[in-house]
């Protein structure tokens, strides 16, 4: 293993400039090259840095394992390249092709330098596996950065989707929308209780018009929210109970008897106003 790896290192070191020139020529003529997204100078710089990094790592380290410390600078470079390219709009395939396209010039060079067929086959195999791993590494990085984006968006949604609004002096409304999984319910409950303290509201309307499914877990979360609000001195009204939800709740056997419920937010608002002592008169 050691003998073969030194050969590859030696060849890359000896012909680095040559390889680089051919590689860049290869890339600029390839269909995956995106002159609209990246200047040639940038491409030149990335190629130079990567080849340089590979040369250094190959001279010092193992060729079959890119997770070692010798490859750290190469990994960092690829990290930066894939993230940068993903930001400017390259697809993961295009970024991986950046690494894979080094195969062509490298293989031709190996063929020219090594005469013995067996040794050549060994070198080609080693180089191929190495470049495959580096190419796949860039794909992994792009995937990871996408997952980070998704996670961040999920966090954003937690914040966004649970506004508590003040409808009237002392009357709060919490319009719930979407799936009430436990992480979101926690945020909802905290927001509501916080707002009750801030405003000193005596009545809170929890509207579930936008909640598609009310199963026992959702019902339990609602009951807990109501109980917590009550402990803080606020009465809760649950509104937005559609006919199908009402029937389902009855079949489930959930007892919402202790809570005031209304079909619509408007009806709940009227109840809230009456309880807070306001009177409504229709103007002519």
């Amino acid at each position: 293993m050691k003998g073969t790896s030194s050969r590859l290192a030696e060849i890359i070191a000896k012909h680095e400039q040559d390889l680089l020139a051919q590689w860049i020529k290869e890339q600029t003529s390839a269909v995956t090259q995106r002159p609209d997204l990246m200047s040639e100078a940038e491409l030149r710089e990335q190629s130079r840095a990567l080849l340089n990094g590979i040369r250094n790592a190959v001279q010092r380290g193992r060729l079959d394992d890119i997770t070692g410390s010798e490859w750290e600078s190469v990994r960092e470079l690829l990290d930066e390249v894939s993230r940068g390219r993903a930001r400017t709009g390259f697809s993961p395939t295009e970024t991986a092709m950046f690494v894979f396209s080094l195969k062509q010039p490298l293989f031709s060079r190996l063929r020219a330098e090594i005469r013995e067929p067996e040794a050549l086959a060994d070198e080609l195999w080693t180089a191929s596996v190495l470049l495959d791993k580096l190419g796949l590494y860039t794909t992994e990085v792009s995937q990871k950065s996408r997952e980070e984006v998704i996670l961040r968006q999920q966090q954003d949604m937690l914040e966004l989707s649970t506004p508590v609004v003040e409808l009237w002096d002392g009357v709060l409304a919490l319009p719930l929308i979407g799936t009430l999984d436990s992480a979101r319910t926690q945020v909802v409950m905290e927001n509501l209780l916080q707002k009750i303290v801030q405003t000193g509201a005596g009545i809170a309307i929890v509207d579930i018009t936008g909640v598609p499914t009310v199963d026992t877990l959702v019902a339990q979360h609602l009951l807990k929210t109501v109980a917590a609000a009550r402990l803080m001195g606020a009465d809760c009204i649950i509104s937005g109970i559609r006919p199908q939800i009402a029937q389902t709740i009855v079949h489930l056997g959930v007892d919402l008897g202790t809570v005031t419920t209304k079909a619509t937010l408007a009806a709940a608002f009227v109840v809230a106003l009456e309880r807070s002592g306001a009177t409504i008169s229709k103007g002519r």
Binding site: Q247, H251, V254
Partner: protein, 136 residues
């Protein structure tokens, strides 16, 4: 008895997201079958209950959603399987208010009431299989 299955789909039940996905599939398929809004909501809710049981008590498993057509009637069948600890006493588990997990204890019994046909098979230490069907 073999029931004519029009189409079927397997879904993993490994996370809360999977439960949401199953609800969406069930909702979509019942709409395709022409279920009324009430029937849609019933079977979606039942699916949600059992999927969450599979996840929380069975340690995760798999759901099989099948669209059925038999004679003139059409329906949706859901089969949830897990390799969890199993249910020791099924009668007790079906009783309203009985819970081991801090919930309301209505999920299993509620799901039975929301389905047209409902069956549980369970062996302690081997796993549980819950089958529920809702006809149009």
């Amino acid at each position: 008895m073999a029931m004519p299955v029009v189409k079927a789909e397997r879904c993993p039940v490994r996370s809360g997201d999977n439960v949401v996905r199953i609800r969406q599939i069930v909702r979509q398929w019942t709409v395709e079958l022409g279920f009324s809004l009430v029937d849609q909501t019933k079977i979606v809710t039942a699916a949600s209950e059992i999927a969450r049981n599979t996840l929380d008590h069975g340690g995760g498993g798999e759901a099989l959603v099948e669209s059925l057509s038999e004679g003139g009637r059409r329906g949706l069948r859901l089969v949830f399987t897990d390799k969890g600890p199993g249910i020791e006493n099924i009668d007790q588990a079906l009783k309203d208010g009985f819970t081991t997990g801090g919930g309301l204890g209505l999920g299993l019994g509620g799901a039975r009431r929301l389905s047209s046909e409902f069956s549980i098979e369970s062996r302690t230490g081997e796993g549980t299989c819950v089958t529920l069907t809702r006809w149009k």
